[in-house]
């Protein structure tokens, strides 16, 4: 089973410079636990005691996971998870 997880520049030190890694799990939480096994310290940058960290956004197939069940969001083979820092973005 392979779920692609896209890693932002700031976290690539945890993945040996890789901008995309693969993992498995049936929920987002399980997926992050799976990644932690191979990329030590990564999960702690994403999750704190209250769940997803405030300035971290995670998207499952381009949808913000906070609206899909958060860490409990179901994930399946072929899904893409994208991690991005929260920014003010562009032109307003």
């Amino acid at each position: 089973m392979a779920i692609e997880v896209r890693i932002p520049t700031i976290l690539r030190s945890y993945t040996g410079g890789e901008k995309s890694v693969e993992g498995s799990g049936s929920t987002l939480g399980e997926l992050f636990a799976d990644l932690e096994g191979r990329y030590d310290g990564l999960r702690e940058r994403l999750i704190d005691d209250d769940g997803l960290r405030r300035f971290v956004n995670v998207y499952l197939n381009d949808e913000d996971v906070r609206f899909l069940g958060g860490l409990g969001a179901p994930v399946s083979d072929g899904d893409t998870v994208t991690v991005l820092p929260a920014v003010a973005g562009g032109a307003r």
């Binding site: 700031i10 300035f55 906070r66 609206f67 003010a88 973005g89 032109a91 307003r92």
Partner: protein, 315 residues
């Protein structure tokens, strides 16, 4: 239609159907044309409201200087309102925004302070806050946290939409300061049971996210995620493709954030189609495509346009 002055003509924008892009007669897309505002964008609503609110509570005195982190539309709107109401305006914006934006701001009489491209609007906000601290006599209306921003939409955009489209099932808008979605979203949720409030968030190239420390992130003070029901991240490739579709299929020359919104709207339309449900999906068209021409987004092939847009703050 007749108005006593330019500012009075604000709002009351048209809602136009998009029959060629709509999947079926029962799943329909609608475009609310916010380029039909005095300076050509949705931001005219919030500029008028924020200035009026600051005048009302005595923060803004005659001849005062307004300071704002803005890479475009809010600055242009504020420049117009400032000119009409007798204020000076200083805009802080990232250096990699389109030429038309800079020219328009200067034409309206605003002063621009550029912040570094890397780090985008986060950096502009930070620089503006620093400048405000050093100049307490300047007034920073601060669109990212000013309740008058969301209130403008709660009191105008939302009611207009409901009046024109009482059968509305989805409202889709770009997520920036979050004011449009918070204000319009709150209003619609109060009046339309089950309405979906859908955010379309631009996803930029790596330059914008850079090496930003994850604990130094930015979430606009106005943002309340409980108002939304869905939030999509839309790549520049998809936003660009959809912006060009709006033009080629519906003849609508819209800014690139509108392509972002259409992409999310089409995703919701597909869900409704698959579920066999009817839908009336209102898309917020924040501005026209005119000030994005220099980005090269509309000409040539899609691949060429994508290459030209790389590294730019396109929405």
């Amino acid at each position: 239609m007749r108005y006593d002055s330019l500012l009075d003509s604000l709002g009351g924008t048209p809602l136009v159907g998009l029959p060629r892009l709509s999947p079926s007669p029962t799943v329909r897309l609608w475009a609310k044309l916010e380029d039909r505002n005095p300076t050509g964008s949705v931001k005219d609503r919030i500029a008028a409201y924020m200035v009026a609110a600051a005048e009302k509570d005595g923060r803004l005195l005659p001849g005062a200087t307004i300071l704002e982190p803005t890479s475009g539309n809010t600055g242009i709107s504020l420049a117009m309102v400032a000119k009409l109401r007798g204020y000076q305006l200083i805009c802080v914006m990232p250096e990699n925004t389109s030429a038309e934006r800079r020219e328009l701001l200067e034409a309206f009489g605003a002063t621009i302070v550029f912040s570094p491209a890397a780090g985008g609007s986060n950096e502009a906000v930070r620089v503006a806050k620093e400048m405000a601290a050093q100049h307490p006599e300047w007034v920073m209306l601060y669109q990212y946290g000013n309740e008058a921003n969301a209130r403008a939409h709660y009191e105008t955009t939302g009611p207009e939409l409901l009046a024109d489209l009482p059968e509305i099932t989805h409202f889709v808008a770009g997520l920036g300061t979050t004011g449009t979605l918070m204000g319009t979203g709150r209003y619609l949720r109060e009046h339309v049971p089950g309405v979906q409030i859908v955010a379309a968030e631009p996803r930029y190239g790596e330059l914008v996210y850079g090496l930003r420390n994850l604990s130094e992130g930015f979430v606009p003070e106005l943002y309340d995620e409980n108002v939304l029901t869905t939030r999509f991240s839309v790549s520049s490739a998809d936003a660009l493709r959809r912006t060009r579709e709006l033009l080629h299929v519906e003849g609508l020359l819209a800014g690139i954030s509108s392509g972002c919104v259409l992409h999310a709207g089409l995703a919701m339309a597909a869900k409704a189609e698959n579920a066999g449900e009817r839908a009336d999906i209102a898309l917020l068209i924040a501005d026209g495509g005119w000030k994005y021409l220099s980005t090269g987004a509309y000409g040539g092939t899609l691949a060429e346009a994508e290459a030209r847009l790389e590294g730019q703050l396109w929405a």
